[in-house]
């Protein structure tokens, strides 16, 4: 107890975090979003220990079993089984690993690249800015999914190629946000002061400006994770995602589509998982926006 108080008082990080949480907590929905995502992440990490089944192994004795509340269903497979007798709940939990990994990896790369290019673009301006912005405009004009689909078709399916197909355009979103923030920050006093003190460009960009635009970057990155997860599901739905029998949510939905007249649950439940994940992340993003960037409200 005492130690905590000491820490709270002495560490600026702790107090910043505490301030942040105080603001974040105000948005009730954001807290719920955090809870949902926390459960998803924990489930994804401990997936193999949560259910007794293997996500990829067929069980010919339990084909297309309905969820437990329907006649013929049982608690042994609470959400039923698919066309190869695999437990739906197990597959959905394992599918979370794929979706969350893809979302985080793509956004990590996109945000790093986008932030750096945005800093350069906004800080130096001129020709370099024009070039980067025209590239951004060009990429922006392609429908996301169509070019991603074409890319996967050309590169071949698989996790790696899907990451490329999703990241090719993703960097432009943080890039645009960072650029406009840099343009606004460029003439602020703290930058002027650093310049006057003889700081180099790199120092100003990364040490002075970056920390001040970091909040917006985090908000954008969070919101984009949800989008990438939706796109991953769409690509998998089109059969262009990870290879079978990996239980990507989009893949399960597309497999289940064949059974929509007879076994509706196969395509319904993984969709709910996508929805909850994207919603949870979007709610967190909203909360972060409120907490990190009070201007926005």
């Amino acid at each position: 107890m005492e130690l905590e108080q000491v820490l709270y008082q002495e560490s600026p990080m702790w107090s910043a975090l505490r301030d942040f949480w105080r603001l974040y907590r105000k948005n009730r929905l954001a807290v719920w979003g955090l809870a949902v995502i926390a459960i998803m992440v924990i489930a994804a990490i401990f997936a193999p220990y949560l259910t007794p089944y293997h996500p990829e192994k067929p069980d010919f004795t339990a084909l297309r079993k309905p969820p437990f509340w329907m006649p013929g269903g049982s608690l042994a497979h609470p959400l039923g089984t698919d066309h190869l007798g695999r437990d739906m709940l197990t597959r959905i939990i394992h599918g979370g690993r794929i979706s969350l990994t893809v979302g985080l990896v793509v956004i990590f790369f996109a945000t790093s690249v986008g932030t750096i290019l945005g800093l350069i673009s906004g800080y130096y301006g001129g020709r370099i800015d024009a070039v980067i912005q025209r590239i951004v405009d060009t990429l922006l004009s392609f429908p996301y999914l169509i070019l991603a689909t074409a890319l996967v078709a050309v590169l071949g399916p698989g996790l790696q190629n899907m990451l490329v197909a999703l990241a090719y355009k993703e960097w432009i979103y943080p890039c645009r946000v960072v650029r406009s923030e840099v343009l606004a920050a460029k003439n602020k006093e703290y930058v002027e002061a650093a310049k006057a003190a003889g700081a180099g460009d790199l120092h100003i960009m990364f040490r002075e400006i970056l920390p001040n635009v970091f909040g917006s970057v985090i908000v954008v990155a969070t919101l984009r994770v949800a989008w990438v997860i939706l796109m991953e599901a769409s690509l998998s739905f089109l059969g262009l995602g990870v290879e079978p029998p990996a239980p990507a949510w989009g893949t399960i939905i597309s497999e289940g589509r064949r059974f929509i007249n007879t076994q509706w649950w196969i395509s319904t439940f993984p969709g709910i998982a996508v929805l909850l994940t994207a919603l949870g992340i979007n709610l967190i993003g909203e909360g972060l926006r409120d907490a990190l960037d009070p201007r926005m409200r």
Binding site: T138, S141, Y144, I146, A150, A233, G250, W264, S267, L283
Partner: protein, 337 residues
Amino acid sequence: MSKKFLFHRMLQTIPVVLGITLVVFSLMHLTPGDPVETMLGSVGHISQEDIELIRQELGLDQPLWKQYLGFLGGIVRGDWGVSLRYGVPVKDLIRERLPATLELTLAAMAVSLLIAIPAGVVAAIRRYSIVDQVSTLVSLIGVSLPDFWLGLVLILIFSVGLGWLPGGLRLGFEVTAPPTVTGLLLVDSLLARNWEALWAAMKHLLLPSLALGAPLAALTMRITRSSMLDVVKQDYITFARAKGLKEAVVIIKHALRNALIPTITVIALNMGTLLGGNMIIERIFSWPGLGQLVVDSIRTYDYPVVQASVMLYALTYVAMNLAADLVYTRLDPRVKL
């Protein structure tokens, strides 16, 4: 001022359009192996000479830069090549498919506007109320929904379960289609006074346009809400209220009109997303539009079709973007460059 901006804005689109052509062109050349052989692989009885002939027709035996110039020339001349799969000019294929996609896209827009704008306005004037919170949550759900899954669930409920609405195609089997004038079935059946077809076409449009329009509705609602909030703070609204005008008049006549400007811009900009979203929705609803054509062409490596349609999508986006900017400048005096 405005003229200069216009000129500047037009100039900016030139490198973008060139960039688009470059990306589209390189798609075909990124592929491992020979596109012609890949494409013809499933046909069977095809000789080596045929392959050579097609390669020559496509100009694949020439150096890359020449091919690119030829490609640019083709676009300018309106010669988009011949589909490898169907053997008909790509232009004809696209002309055949475009009306279906256009009709679906416009219907999706209409549906989303009808839902989103009133909801956005109510959320803004009853800020922080239950209505506001619920609609915020609903709009967040809207942007978090995988549209293809929404389409499946709609089919599951309204088509498989309740049997109220058809789960696919543009027109029922028992209805005779009206003669093609515009290609838009709603318009054509109106022109032909074929009420049966009109009714059938509307029923067939409802589910896919809901599925396609949901994410846009969510977005539109949020934008409408926030721009309404911006507008009601303005002096002229306070002034109008002070004049003793009825609240409804103030909201609809003065506030909404101005708040709609950013909303319309956002919708125009999202036309691209909507067109892209067509790809999966059309597949789910067996909708014979451009989106399905693109997916099928990508899967069968029918490059001329892929190139032309991706190009079309991108240029539509650029045009909409430009139009939105110009309209925005005209309507909103605050935008100056």
